[in-house]
Amino acid sequence: MARNWVLDVPTDDAYRIGRILFDVQHDRAEEARFFADPAAYLASADISEGARKALAETDIGALYLLGANPYLLRAYCLQLRVPEAKYLAALRAVEGQAHG
C-alpha cells in the first residue's frame, strides 16, 4: 500500500539530518559555512556515521530511508543544484524499501 511518509514519528537520525538541512536552508551563516567546506561541516556535525556518510555522498535514497523530511530534502537538493531527474531516480530506486 502506498504511504506518504517513511516514518510515523521522527527518529534521532531524522531529526539530526533535518536539523542540518533546515539550518543550511534558513541560516545564512550556516549556509556559508556549509558551502565553504561541506566535508569539514559534516565531519564536525553531531550525527550518526550512517547519516554522515549519506550526507557526505549526497545519497538521496539513503537520506530518504533515514527519514529526512521530504520537504527539507527537496529544498536541500535544490540548493545543491541536484537535477530533478537525478533526485527522482534516487528516490524511486529506494521506493520499495521505503514504502513496501
Partner: protein, 274 residues
C-alpha cells in the same frame, strides 16, 4: 458579534508563481481566473479580517517545537520566507485582537493551539492571496496546521477545531464580518518518489464529499485515502478546518483540474452558507 461572511478554499503551490506558464496559457488562465474570482468575492464581502487556514512548510517550525495547530496573533507578518519565491517580499497586516480572541476561545473549548507573534509566512499563505489579488488588503489571522511532518492532527480533529473557531468568530465583538480562506492540497507529492504524480480520483471524490455537506464523510475519506494522494494532500486538513467553520454546509466547487505541470491538483470553491 461577527458574522462569518464567507468561507472559501483554494489550492496553493509555489510553482504557479515561479513557473506560471508551465501548463500552457489557456489552462493557466483558466486557473488564475478562478483565483481572481475568489479574490473579487472576498473583496465584495468587505471583511474586517480574513482567517487564513494554511500550513507552514518547515520554515517557521522544525522538530525542536512543532505545533499541531498555531494561531498567529501578530499585528503584521512579513512574507514570503522563501527567497526563491517569485512574489515580492511584503508586510501583510494582521489582526491581533481577533487572533487573541480566537486563541482564548478555542482553548476554552478544549483545544491547545500554539500561538506565534513572529511568523514569517511562506508560499502557503502568500501565493493564494497574491493570485487572488488581495495580498495585504485585509488584516489576517493565520492559522497553521501541521500537514508536513508526522504525527499530524487527525482529519476529524481538524474539522472539530473548525467548529470551535466558528463559535469563537461568532462571539467576537470587535468586527462585523470575517471571511475564511483555507488553502492547501489537493493531491500532490513534495520530495518523495511520487513527486510529479497526482491522484485526480482522490481529489474529485474528496470534493464530492464536501459538496454533499456534513461534517464527517470528507474527513473519513481523507483519513482512509490520503496515503494514495501524496504527502502534499495532507494539507486537506486546512480545508477540513474550513468545513468545520462552515458547519458542514455544502461546498460549491468552482474549478478542479489536475495540474501536473504545477505538481498539484488545483481546486477552488466556496461553502454555500445558509
Amino acid at each position: 458579534m461577527a458574522e462569518i461572511a464567507g468561507v472559501f478554499a483554494v489550492s496553493h503551490t509555489p510553482i504557479m508563481s515561479n513557473m506560471p506558464d508551465a501548463p500552457g496559457v489557456s489552462r493557466r488562465d483558466a486557473a488564475f481566473a478562478q483565483f481572481e474570482r475568489v479574490g473579487a468575492e472576498i473583496d465584495s464581502l468587505a471583511p474586517d479580517a480574513v482567517l487564513l487556514i494554511s500550513n507552514d512548510h518547515l520554515h517557521n517550525f522544525y522538530l525542536d517545537n512543532l505545533p499541531a495547530f498555531c494561531i498567529g496573533i501578530a499585528s503584521s507578518y512579513i512574507s514570503p520566507v522563501e527567497g526563491w519565491l517569485k512574489v515580492p517580499k511584503q508586510t501583510l497586516p494582521g489582526d491581533p485582537l481577533l487572533g487573541a480572541h480566537l486563541l482564548r476561545e478555542v482553548i476554552e473549548a478544549g483545544f491547545d493551539p500554539a500561538l506565534s507573534m513572529e511568523l514569517v509566512l511562506d508560499h502557503g499563505t502568500l501565493t493564494p492571496l497574491d493570485r487572488a489579488g488581495i495580498a495585504g488588503r485585509h488584516p489576517l489571522v493565520p492559522i497553521l496546521v501541521n500537514a508536513v511532518q508526522p504525527p499530524m492532527p487527525t482529519m476529524q480533529r481538524s474539522v472539530a477545531l473548525g467548529g470551535a473557531l466558528r463559535a469563537a468568530i461568532q462571539s467576537y465583538k470587535g468586527a462585523d464580518r470575517v471571511v475564511v480562506l483555507a488553502t492547501g492540497g489537493l493531491s500532490h507529492d513534495v520530495g518523495t518518489p511520487r513527486m510529479g504524480q497526482l491522484n485526480a480520483e482522490f481529489d474529485r471524490q474528496f470534493l464530492r464529499h464536501l459538496e454533499a455537506g456534513g461534517l464527517d464523510v470528507a474527513a473519513q475519506y481523507a483519513r482512509a485515502h490520503v496515503n494514495s494522494a501524496g504527502n502534499g494532500a495532507e494539507e486537506v486538513r486546512n480545508w477540513l478546518v474550513a468545513q468545520g467553520i462552515a458547519a458542514g454546509a455544502p461546498f460549491e466547487t468552482y474549478f478542479y483540474e489536475g495540474m501536473a505541470e504545477w505538481y498539484t491538483g488545483i481546486a477552488l470553491g466556496r461553502w454555500r452558507l445558509p
